[in-house]
Structures are given as structure tokens and as C-alpha cells.
């Protein structure tokens, strides 16, 4: 699914990622953990195709293609979804309208006709139910006036609607109370399929109680310094990041 080789990335000349290697196979859930400022979000943005990030070396192969050759929207249409840490507000644009536009642009890319209205609405209903979302949410403007938890739920809702091959969830658990966390995790788990993959970026082990990863990576100072099974997350929680630091 995703193969990152020796990826180095700089922002305004400052190197943030220093030779990342990461293999994510179809059907797998990977967790990337690490202290603040180690490049977790940078990795998410580079995969997503955000401007301002300079790839100084290495490559990202996604479904056999060089991902870095694709534009942001092409990557999205190829099935990459980024769950934002800080989702931005788009005043006046209803979630319904936003999602229908997104789905239809993706369908256009795939050579399909726009989604029939009835089918779209039925899908909305289904996914709203799954995420225990309020009915009126879909008529509200994208993220405008949302609480932290609502914003994160909305990200997962969009993910459910867009059905990506590779979802990267950047600190989706931050700012969530335990109920919201459970709902978000349920949403993610429900969307697990043998042919799609998830990368969960998180600070805390807590989320991994709900979304059980196949592989856990520790990102530190721009490098993946340790990888292991799900038990590593517990160890990390127990011993703290100092443990990693000292073992280097």
C-alpha cells in the first residue's frame, strides 16, 4: 500500500524528517507515536501533499506509484485521507454540500457520474448513525462553531463517507473525552477492511486501547527509532519517552 524509503523533508531549509522508512501493507493499522515536535504531523502533511514541505531525499511509493508526482487532490482521489489535527472552518459551506462536492470530484476523477442524490443521502444517514452524530450536523457549516470533539467526529464522518484506501489520522484523539474517543474509535474500526490501511498518529497510548494497531512506531527527532507490536505502546506509556531517548 504505502512504502516510504529514506524520506527527508525540510521546512524553510530546516530539516524535520531525517530519513524515514515505513512499510504499510493493505489491511494493516500502524500507530506512530512520539513526543511533540518530532515530525509526526509533518509526515502526515507530506503524504497528504501540503505545500511548503521540501522533500530533500527519498521517495513515497503508494499503490506502486510515485506519490510525490501527484497533486494534493489527485492523492485524495487515489484514496488518501488525512484526518486533521486542527480541522479548519469553512463558513457558510454545509457539510452536506462539502461532502457531495468532494465525493463527486473524486468520482469524476474515477470516470464516474455524480452520485445520485438518494444514494448520497442514504449513505449520510448510515454513517451518521454509525458515529452517533446529531441529525442537524450535516446542515451546519464545515467545522464552524464546532467543539473540539465535534470537529474530530466530523473528520471521521468524512472519512466514512469518502471510504479511503489509506487514512492518516493526525492526533484524532486529542481533545476528546472518553465517550467521543470510543465513538471515534468505533468509527475507525468499522471502516477497517482487508484492502485498506490506517496510520494513527497519537501522543498517548489511550487511543490504542480502542484502535488496536498491528505495528507501533516511535518517531523521534525525525527518525523512526523503534518499531514493534501493540505491546510496545504499553511499554512506552509505562516508561515514557525518556526511555527511548536514553536507549538511543
Amino acid at each position: 500500500m504505502l512504502s516510504i524509503k529514506n524520506l527527508s523533508v525540510a521546512i524553510k531549509g530546516k530539516e524535520i524528517l531525517k530519513g524515514i522508512n515505513l512499510e504499510v501493507n493493505a489491511g494493516e493499522v500502524h500507530a506512530i507515536m512520539g513526543p511533540n515536535g518530532t515530525g509526526k504531523s509533518t509526515l502526515a502533511y507530506v503524504i497528504g501533499g501540503r505545500e511548503g514541505y521540501e522533500v530533500t531525499s527519498g521517495e513515497i511509493i503508494y499503490k506502486g506509484r510515485n506519490l510525490l508526482d501527484l497533486s494534493t487532490e489527485e492523492r485524495a482521489c487515489e484514496g488518501i485521507f488525512l484526518g486533521f489535527q486542527y480541522p479548519v472552518e469553512i463558513p457558510g459551506v454545509s457539510i452536506t454540500n462539502f461532502l457531495r462536492t468532494a465525493i463527486n470530484e473524486q468520482r469524476k476523477y474515477q470516470g464516474l457520474d455524480p452520485i445520485p442524490a438518494a444514494q448520497f443521502l442514504a449513505k449520510m444517514e448510515e454513517k451518521k448513525k454509525m458515529l452517533e452524530l446529531q441529525d442537524k450536523l450535516a446542515n451546519r457549516s464545515v467545522n464552524e462553531g464546532f467543539s473540539g470533539g465535534e470537529k474530530k467526529k466530523n473528520e471521521i464522518f468524512q472519512m466514512a463517507m469518502l471510504e479511503p484506501s489509506l487514512a492518516i489520522l493526525d492526533e484524532t484523539d486529542s481533545g476528546l473525552d472518553i465517550d467521543a474517543l470510543r465513538i471515534v474509535a468505533t468509527g475507525v474500526n468499522n471502516l477497517r477492511r482487508p484492502h485498506n490501511s490506517t496510520i494513527v498518529i497519537t501522543h498517548y497510548q489511550r487511543l490504542l486501547d480502542y484502535i488496536v494497531p498491528d505495528v507501533v512506531h516511535v518517531l523521534y527527532d525525525g527518525r523512526i527509532v523503534k518499531s514493534g507490536g501493540k505491546e510496545m505502546a504499553l511499554e512506552l506509556e509505562e516508561k515514557g519517552y525518556e526511555w527511548i531517548k536514553n536507549s538511543l
Partner: protein
């Protein structure tokens, strides 16, 4: 689901000006230039009564004493008023009994614009008074409306058939001395629409007029007069597209609205005159005077405009709140791109007690354009307990365009509450990235964001018009992303 006004501006970012075709119809024109003989010629051509000729002549004589206003935030080369043709009309061939008899060219033009003069319009609930250049060619639904006592016809026809009404109200809202362009219009106006809704009648359909500039060097001087008698209601829509032209064309229209006691008039405009090309060449000069008067108590006038066209827009649809408890509203989206210049806004003049006005203005500037809001809120001494709320937002696309706000507030009564809010924002990279990450192209993303931004105004457009507006607006912000 809610009304999909969102989509109206959606395609705003795409395509060249689509309505730049030109209809080849035989024209009957006056010689270039302006003098009393030309005015007499126009008046005679239209078989006007003496009092109307006198109105034109006194307007002309007053106009001669006036100077072109220069206070607006716009730049354009001097207009040579002697280089303009002041009268052009499709030659009347004979009395027309059905659509088959209308010039097929003309029908074709209407079809390209998506305007159907046929009976389908009845189903969609729209009566159309189509104006090509100066003379109304065909009026539909007059019969249906006539049963309710509603008069909806060309201005010229109204002069012939309802001279008393025209005489009573013509110039009563916009006097012939009002301003340079209004005086010019009063002297040379060619045709336009007239609408009268009798006492207590609620007009069951949206009335609409499509304007179109069609002949080279022909100034357009439309004159519209809408009178809603006591307790009457009408929703009136005006939309326009113009053929692509290299030479600048002057358009100086007047719209007068009179709302008597308990009457309500809703006037919606989608304006899409040719804006000039990407380098700022060509385009329409649009100097319009639009004003309504809430003459009776509890009356209401509401202006909604979507302005995407014209090289220059100079336009301030206003309301004089004379009757106690009357309401004035102004909702505006003005889009400027490339080298367009817009100086637009409104005046709310509170003369009556407990009058209320709302102003929502959304400016969108792209390219190297300049977009100004200019508004006056005035409350006179005797007007107690007046209320105004103004919100003027500007959205900038790119860094070469300008947005300006000139709010004037004059209140002489201490019991009035006048609020003014203004914001200026840019489409953020975060917003764009967010949309793109969901698979939405940059152009569509801008459309979506601009849509959302303008939603508060667009939702005031009548439904039928919203669809029309979608077509008309789809072209304006082309090339603004980069």
C-alpha cells in the same frame, strides 16, 4: 434540504465570458449625439404625450448644468456623450400574434440565454418582459396578471395605456435633477418595465425582466417603475447578460419603486454585463440609480443584488423609509475580477419613526480589481427608535486586488441604534488544503468557499433566479487562482 444557494457562486471560478455573442438584427437608430432635437425624435418615435416630452426636456436642460460625478473610487476615460447613439429599436415589422412571428434571430438569442418566451414559463411561474435594447419585443402573461388588476408591461406601453399612473409616479422617487446619470436617463430613457400592483393584491408569480445590450455604441437608458399599492406584494427579478464588445458601453438606468402602506416589494438583480477581457479592455460602464420609497407605514422594500459584470459599476440601490415602521433591506454580493471596478452600496434614509434597515454586503475581489462598498445610513431628527444593522465583508483572492469600505453614518436622533460591522478576509491556505485533501480541485474549492461566504445574501434570491444566477455567475472569477 436547504436551498442550494451554495452552488450559485460555485462555478464562478470557471470559464470565459459565455454570453459574448452578438445578435444581428436590423436596427433603427437615431444619429449619434445628444441635443433637444434628438430628444424630440425619441419622444416622437414613441408617440409620447406632451407632458412626457416636457419631462425629458427639463431633465436634459438640467443635465446640461451638471458635472459628471468624480467621487466614486473608480477610474475610466472620459465619456464622450456626443459619441453615443441614444435611440435604437428593432424595426417593428407588423403586429405580432404569436412567437412564430418574432424574428427567429431574436428567439435564438433568448434561447442562448436560456430565456423562454413560451408558455413553459407559466409552469415555472415566471413572467418575462424581455427588453432587447430599447423596445420591449414581447410581453408575456400580461393577460393572466390583468385579471388580478396587475399591470406589467413595457414602459412605453404604460405611457400609452396608463398615462395617469406613470405621470403620478415618474420621477417621484428619483427626481429628474437627482444626479448626473439620472438626469441623463430622464432625458433620453428609451424603454423599460412598468409594474403596478393594485391594493391588497399579492402578485402570484415572480416578475422578471431581462436586459440586454445589443447594438454597438448604443447607450442603454432603461427606466423601470414599480408601484405597489396599499397592502400589495410583488417580487421582481432583473437579470442581464450582454454580448462581448470591444468598445465600452454606457448604461445608465433608473429603477424607481414606490411601496404604499403595508406594501412589500422585493427586487432581485443578477447583473452580468460584459466585464471587459482579462486585460481590462472593453466592458460595460454601469451607472445606475436605483431607489425605492417606503411611502406608507409598515411597508417594506428589499434589494438583493448579485453583481458580477461590468467594467465599472456605480450603483447604490437605496430605500427612503418615510412611513413609520417601514423596513428597508439591502443584500449584495459584488464580485470583481481582472480589471473590473465596482463602487456599490446603498443608502438607507430613515425619515419615519420605528423604521428598520438591514445592510449585508459581501464584496469579493480577485485579479487586479477594485471593489468598494459605499453606504449611507441617515436618521433624521424626528425619526425615533430607528434601527440599522450593517455588515460589510470583503474577501480577497490574491494580492493585487483591492477592497474598500466607505460607510457614512449620520444620525440626528439619539434614540436610534446604528450598528456597523466590517471584516476583510482572504481565503486561507489552510482552507484550500483542507478542500484539496478531500479531492476538491483548487478552482472548485474557491467556488465552494466563495459560495459559503456569500450564502447570507444568496439565500434571499428567489429560487428560480438562484438557478439562473448559477449560470450567470459561473464565469466571473476565472483565472483568479494562481
Amino acid at each position: 434540504m436547504e436551498k442550494e444557494s451554495n452552488n450559485i457562486l460555485d462555478e464562478v471560478t470557471k470559464g470565459e465570458y459565455k454570453y459574448g455573442f452578438y445578435t444581428d438584427i436590423e436596427m433603427e437608430t437615431a444619429p449619434k449625439g445628444l441635443n433637444e432635437d434628438i430628444i424630440r425624435y425619441i419622444s416622437a418615435r414613441k408617440n409620447e404625450p406632451e407632458w412626457l416630452l416636457e419631462f425629458r426636456l427639463k431633465s436634459y436642460r438640467h443635465w446640461l448644468t451638471m458635472k459628471e460625478p468624480k467621487w466614486a473610487h473608480i477610474n475610466y476615460p472620459a465619456i464622450d456623450f456626443q459619441d453615443i447613439i441614444y435611440y435604437a429599436a428593432p424595426k417593428p415589422k407588423k403586429e405580432l400574434k404569436s412567437l412564430d412571428e418574432v424574428d427567429p434571430e431574436l428567439i435564438n438569442t433568448f434561447n442562448k440565454l436560456g430565456i423562454s418566451l413560451e408558455e413553459q414559463k407559466r409552469l415555472s411561474g415566471v413572467a418575462v418582459d424581455a427588453v432587447i435594447d430599447s423596445v420591449s419585443v414581447k410581453t408575456t402573461f400580461s393577460d393572466t396578471l390583468a385579471k388580478l388588476g396587475i399591470i406589467f408591461c413595457s414602459f412605453s406601453e404604460a405611457v400609452q395605456k396608463h398615462p395617469d399612473l406613470v405621470k403620478q409616479y415618474l420621477g417621484s422617487v428619483v427626481p429628474h435633477t437627482d444626479n448626473f446619470f439620472a438626469s441623463l436617463n430622464s432625458a433620453v430613457f428609451s424603454d423599460g418595465s412598468f409594474c403596478y400592483i393594485p391594493k391588497g393584491v399579492r402578485c402570484p408569480i415572480e416578475l422578471s425582466t431581462y436586459f440586454r445590450i445589443n447594438a454597438a455604441n448604443t447607450g442603454q437608458f432603461e427606466r423601470t417603475l414599480i408601484v405597489a399599492d396599499e397592502g400589495a406584494y410583488v417580487s421582481y427579478m432583473e437579470g442581464c447578460t450582454a454580448p462581448q464588445r470591444d468598445e465600452n458601453q454606457l448604461h445608465a438606468a433608473i429603477v424607481e419603486i414606490v411601496a404604499l402602506k403595508d406594501a412589500e416589494v422585493k427586487y432581485s438583480t443578477v447583473q452580468n454585463w460584459y466585464p471587459g477581457d482579462k486585460d481590462g479592455k472593453g466592458g460595460i460602464y454601469n451607472f445606475v440609480t436605483k431607489r425605492g420609497i417606503c411611502k406608507g407605514s409598515h411597508s417594506k422594500i428589499s434589494w438583493t443584488q448579485v453583481e458580477t459584470g461590468s467594467a465599472i459599476t456605480w450603483k447604490y440601490p437605496s430605500v427612503i423609509l418615510m412611513g413609520d415602521y417601514s423596513i428597508g433591506e439591502f443584500y449584495s454580493v459584488a464580485v470583481t475580477n481582472h480589471h473590473q471596478q465596482a463602487d456599490t452600496g446603498t443608502k438607507m434614509v430613515h425619515l419615519g419613526r420605528n423604521t428598520k434597515s438591514t445592510i449585508i454586503s459581501k464584496g469579493i475581489s480577485a485579479g487586479q480589481s477594485n471593489n468598494s462598498y459605499r453606504g449611507l445610513v441617515r436618521v433624521i431628527k424626528r425619526a425615533e427608535n430607528c434601527r440599522n444593522f450593517s455588515q460589510c465583508d470583503s474577501l480577497l483572492l490574491g494580492d493585487k486586488c483591492g477592497a474598500h469600505t466607505f460607510p457614512y453614518i449620520r444620525t440626528e436622533n439619539p434614540t436610534s441604534i446604528v450598528e456597523h460591522e466590517a471584516t476583510t478576509s482572504k481565503i486561507s491556505d489552510d482552507q484550500l488544503f483542507y478542500c484539496q485533501q478531500r479531492g476538491i480541485s483548487t478552482e472548485s474549492a474557491i467556488g465552494l468557499i466563495v459560495n459559503g461566504y456569500a450564502k447570507e445574501v444568496l439565500q434571499h434570491l428567489p429560487m428560480e433566479f438562484a438557478v439562473e444566477a448559477q449560470k450567470l455567475l459561473s464565469v466571473s472569477l476565472e483565472g483568479s487562482v494562481g
